[in-house]
Symmetry: C2
Subunit: 409 residues, 2 copies
């Protein structure tokens, strides 16, 4: 295997065309040489949109632009560049977003506010927006219904493999398709930890219902994952419904008719989120942390994330050490209700600590074998209530230091 | 220099005897071979005590013991062992604390509740308390007024240098002395990140006033430092006032008579706290982060700690990269009020980013030189208010992974 590709990489799935979406990529020379770095999606007239963005208080200019554009609930195009995040770029950053949207709007013949823009790459450098707008006409002329793989590759920065997922669901008995691409958590060049995700469905779903389904899905997928606890300035998940499928009308409030769609969307989001964790900088192991017995689901999530973000837990996993003492420490530092003497911890299905102490004579052999694998499973029972949550992360290895400790240039 | 000693190490200061304190160390064979691992302090009758402990919700049995013992406000002895943290050890852990205190109380002729105990080392293993109590009589017989260095060395686990500090201050015109020792953040064997600190003064200060001075001092020192964001189960700072100095009476409420004492105590605590950061696992650089212009001091502290705990900032510093984009990211993820377009960042005194954008043509030469040094200075102006705070951390290096990724045994 190419040593530069994550050992946790998964293959790209078959990506069939999705009615109402044409897309593609081009090499615009924004930062990289000899590779595509500019991606465009054109969406059918009537497409509705929903989005979820970074909670970082210093967001990039494209995040500002998308938040404002979403107020209309409609989308006709998306333009994404890789190599420059257009973050901390002042007025020039906002102007670059407006110029990009205007250029794409002219090609698609729509209002600029129906164009969504996203950028990923270095922070604090002015985006070469002229190169971007100069490349747009050729990119637009080459858009294709089968351009999903090209788009998945074109948004990569330091990712080691392209990320995509596709699902089907029925709405009122009619099958619809959902397809998404994502990038995130790559390696080698720093400052590129941005997570971007673009999803489209041929379903016809009003923007409020689409928004509700997306928020719930992201809460149960991307927001339960972490690579290194550092929240990017540019995280963006956008979902577009092209309305090409012929299913019964979906009300603005969504409701039971969307139940299967929401489940498929959640499944797709989780698939993409775990692909991002699998490509976490330096990752050699994918780690799942199940917390039960917390006083509430919210408390369980906080405990799970405290364990997932603990450098001492993550380095122990990199060292293939089932170090339950560090897991106990991380549970305790979460600040959530916990009683040391009711706490139990299992690794690889073996309960090593129960009710506040080590389990005398537990069999370490299967635990040692589990720790040598690629997928690590930690279970924690707080012993106080019925709150449950799951978080996913990767281990913390030398490669993380290599990737992020090298000088930018 | 010995490659196993932190490049940021400082020399042990001269440690004069302090009236009312005798102390020493012995090799009790609790975990280590051929080195001291059991320390005792005997304190004069009438000594008052104050303590601050870990916020971890899964504290060790010795922390439980000390919290209960502090309710009396009096202390006659302290017993500390290195090598075993006595954490997550159930009823046996509590019994070990009681047995240790009883054995020391017998030697000193005091109530067991005037004996404080502390432990540091591996989590989840039963403490060999019989070896500890067996070694106590010989340890007690050898206590000396000049045993400070022996005690500073005896509490080390994976520390690479012993840590101590001493100060003088006047109370009502009479000079008093404050001397403290600390351990923390060592290397090589994992599970030993515990921070312990023991301080004594010959001043005569009522327990409530002592407690107030200690809490304020710890808030401005240890609680502003971080090595890896993982809060230990055993962190303990204990302060004892032996009352041997002949100064005017200090009221229980403390007040202006303690102003100089409180300042000296704060200075000593900060000295010890920075010694711990200098011995941070794998540390190659000491990092100071000054935040100004936040909406409140509390907000400034949270922003400073978010930067200090960011793996991406810390790996950049290890790579000698003045990566202000990552600093902006960390400010934004703190969740505190911040306005990207009013934010300014300086490294080594050079303002690289101001009012939301890079400073055009700033001189990178002095910044590059600064980043190659041992002490890194980051200044952040939020531009919103008058809240200030400072935090200290170290960089994140390959050695941190080496230390914590190796199997426990």
């Amino acid at each position: 295997m190419d040593p530069m590709i994550s050992p946790l990489a998964v293959d790209l799935p078959e990506l069939a065309p999705l009615a109402g979406v044409r897309l593609g990529a081009i090499a615009a020379g924004i930062r990289y040489r000899n590779r595509t770095d500019l991606v465009m999606l054109e969406l059918a007239a009537g497409t509705t949109a929903a989005g979820v963005f970074t909670t970082n208080r210093c967001p990039g200019a494209p995040v500002d632009w998308c938040r404002a554009a979403l107020s209309g609930g409609r989308a006709r195009a998306v333009v994404v560049n890789a190599g420059n995040a257009n973050v901390f770029t002042g007025r020039a950053g906002a102007a670059a977003c407006a110029a990009t949207a205007a250029a794409a709007a002219k090609l698609v013949a729509c209002p600029a506010k129906q164009v969504f823009v996203a950028s990923t790459g270095v922070i604090g450098e002015t985006l070469a927006v002229d190169r971007l707008t100069a490349a747009l006409p050729a990119l637009h002329a080459g858009l294709r219904a089968d351009g999903w793989e090209a788009a998945a590759r074109g948004i990569m920065t330091t990712d080691t493999f392209p990320k995509a997922a596709t699902r089907t669901a029925r709405i009122g008995g009619v099958e619809v398709r959902i397809t998404g691409i994502a990038k995130g958590s790559g390696m080698i060049a720093p400052d590129m930890a941005t997570m971007l995700c673009f999803i489209a469905t041929d379903a016809k779903i009003p923007a409020p219902a689409l928004d509700a389904a997306l928020r719930k899905g992201v809460a149960g997928s991307f927001n339960l994952t972490t690579v290194d606890s550092d929240t990017s300035t540019s995280d963006t998940v956008l979902l577009f419904a092209t309305g090409q499928a012929r299913h019964p009308v979906v009300p603005a409030s969504g409701g039971p008719v969307l139940r299967e769609f929401a489940a498929a969307l959640h499944d797709l989001l989780l698939d993409l989120a775990l692909q991002v964790v699998r490509d976490g900088e330096g990752a050699s192991k994918l780690v799942r942390i199940d917390v039960a017995g917390a006083t509430s689901p919210r408390s369980a999530k906080r405990i799970a994330m405290a364990v997932a973000n603990s450098p001492l837990v993550k380095t122990a996993i990199a060292g293939e050490d089932a170090n339950w003492g560090r897991i106990v420490m991380a549970v305790g530092k979460a600040g959530e209700p916990a009683d040391r003497d009711k706490l139990s911890v299992a690794v690889g299905g073996v309960w090593m600590a129960r009710d506040g102490g080590v389990v005398p004579g537990y069999d370490e052999t299967p635990v040692v074998a589990h720790m040598k694998g690629r997928e690590i499973h930690i279970e924690i029972d707080i012993g106080l209530g019925r709150g449950r949550a799951t978080a996913w992360t990767c281990d913390l290895t030398h490669r993380y230091i290599d990737i992020n400790g090298s000088y930018r240039s």
